[in-house]
């Protein structure tokens, strides 16, 4: 079985992003970038399926500027086999990403596309589902457990209020949630080895996809600021304020 794992380079989750004063976006100059945490979980899960002998090959794909190659290298160092870099300096919306991925899927014919449920920059939570729809494939989103069955996969999903288990035939799209696994760190020898693993260079044009955005950014603004409130001295005072002043209990 071949697994395709799309990954995204995003602002590191520990960075406090700042909105640009001209409100055109957030300031990305000199900001630490990393692989999106949910994508890391997807890479890890694919590697575990390979280690169990269920998957034979893991192909990692990233769409983005030249530096997205570093993100692909990270996945290769974790244990993926080869990469595909679809180079573009444009911001590609999930719909455009899904269309490019459809082209990659048609060229690679994976049995499973395993990807993060959302990127922590744009927070759309859409790419996996969109790809599944464009392919006419079944999906299991927000996975906390993935098991191979004879005909496909049994996936446990994180839903509001608990867990849901679905059975889906392959080929399919699965998106990862936090509880699925804890991603490994790449070892130094594996980082060295990853430098020799192949990365194919492509462009959105290779897949005949129009990536022009459908949503026009009007502005990016600061969220309403919270002011620090008051310090209370005792729990009696706290309960009193919550009850009588704030009226929330």
């Amino acid at each position: 079985m071949k697994i395709l794992v799309p990954v995204k380079r995003v602002v590191d989750y520990n960075v406090k992003v700042r909105v640009k004063p001209d409100q055109t976006g957030v300031d990305l100059a000199n900001v630490k970038m990393s692989m999106n945490p949910f994508c890391e979980i997807a890479v890890e899960e694919a590697i575990r399926l390979k280690e169990k002998g269920i998957a034979e090959e893991i192909v990692v794909v990233s769409i983005g500027p030249a530096q997205a190659q570093e993100t692909i290298r990270t996945a290769l160092a974790m244990g993926a086999d080869r990469g595909i870099h679809v180079t573009t300096d444009e911001t590609v919306e999930p719909l455009g990403v899904a269309k490019i991925l459809k082209g990659v899927v048609e060229a690679e014919s994976p049995e499973l596309v395993l990807l993060g449920k959302q990127a922590i920059d744009d927070d759309s939570n859409a790419t996996g589902q969109m790809l599944a729809a464009l392919m006419g494939w079944p999906q299991a989103t927000f996975a906390s457990e993935v098991e191979k069955t004879d005909s496909g996969f049994k996936v446990t999903r994180e839903i509001d209020g608990g867990l849901q288990t679905l059975s889906i035939p392959s080929p399919a799209v699965v998106t990862t949630d936090l509880r699925l696994n804890e991603p490994r760190y790449a070892s130094l020898p594996n980082i060295m080895k990853a430098k020799r693993k192949p990365i194919d260079a492509k462009t959105p044009d290779d897949f005949g996809v129009d990536i022009s955005p459908r949503l026009e950014v009007v502005k990016v603004s600061e969220p309403p600021k919270r002011e620090a409130g008051v310090k209370v001295e005792t729990v009696e005072e706290l309960v009193g304020k919550l009850k009588n002043e704030a009226g929330v209990i």
Partner: protein
Amino acid sequence: MTVLVIAEHDNAELNDATRAAVTAASKIGGDIHVLVAGKGAGAVADAAGKLDGVAKVLHADAEALEKKLAEAMEALVVSIAGDYDAILAPATTVGKNFMPRVAAQLDVMLISDITAVESADTFVRPIYAGNAMLTVKSNDAKKVITVRPTTFDKAGDGGSASVDTIDAPAPAANSEFVSEELSKSDRPELTQAKIVISGGRGMGNGENFAILEKVADKLNAAVGASRAAVDAGFVPNDYQVGQTGKVVAPELYIAVGISGAIQHLAGMKDSKVIVAINKDEEAPIFSVADYGLVADLFDAVPAFEAELEKAGY
């Protein structure tokens, strides 16, 4: 202009998230229709007809719709999409599951998790876990939108719309429901709770979360945790509130032994009232807290519980 709202429900009762989505739809303008897709969900369809501002309810009944499987929901919504200028669903795990499929099928870019409607084509949505607010104008002919339920008022019951039955087409792909394990806790779900009490690394271990649970039981609150507490193995990952966990916006958020890392603040700073209990008075959590109590949590939390008891909770 006609707007379709897709109802969230459990086949027995209409979920409040639907009411928030109806309010968002009313801000877009035009007639509002509500789609109730389910299995034996007639009572939900009737309830949807009573919502303020709703002109018509469409009711589809099918096996695959019982659990609102994404593939079946996609086929159903796409089959009626031609009649609508905008399609909205609450940004719950159900809505987030099928709405992107609908958008892709209609060749439209989804507008996820909106927190405000500026006009019929312009919306505000949080990005970077709410650390920035993005205002976008959609140039697509049809708008496909998910609505953050916590930021819109809940539509009341003043309507009397008719209920039309519609057919559910067969989906292109099939997933099959196997089982469901809903948390048996009597406590509300983290993202729906009106009150949330969360513990951080300061809790010391998992057993100590019992003192938070006691308070939670008194206040009908959900229990959450910071990433530090989850990483330390105190509680399971689904407790996590923060950028990589759940985003909550309850009426009252009580942060106990939580320092207030950016990643945690991103998940709770839209709460109406924030209380911080921490022995470190320099902890960043105090900079967002409405009420701060500098105290050892192991003294303060049991005392807080006793005080609630005294007050009749």
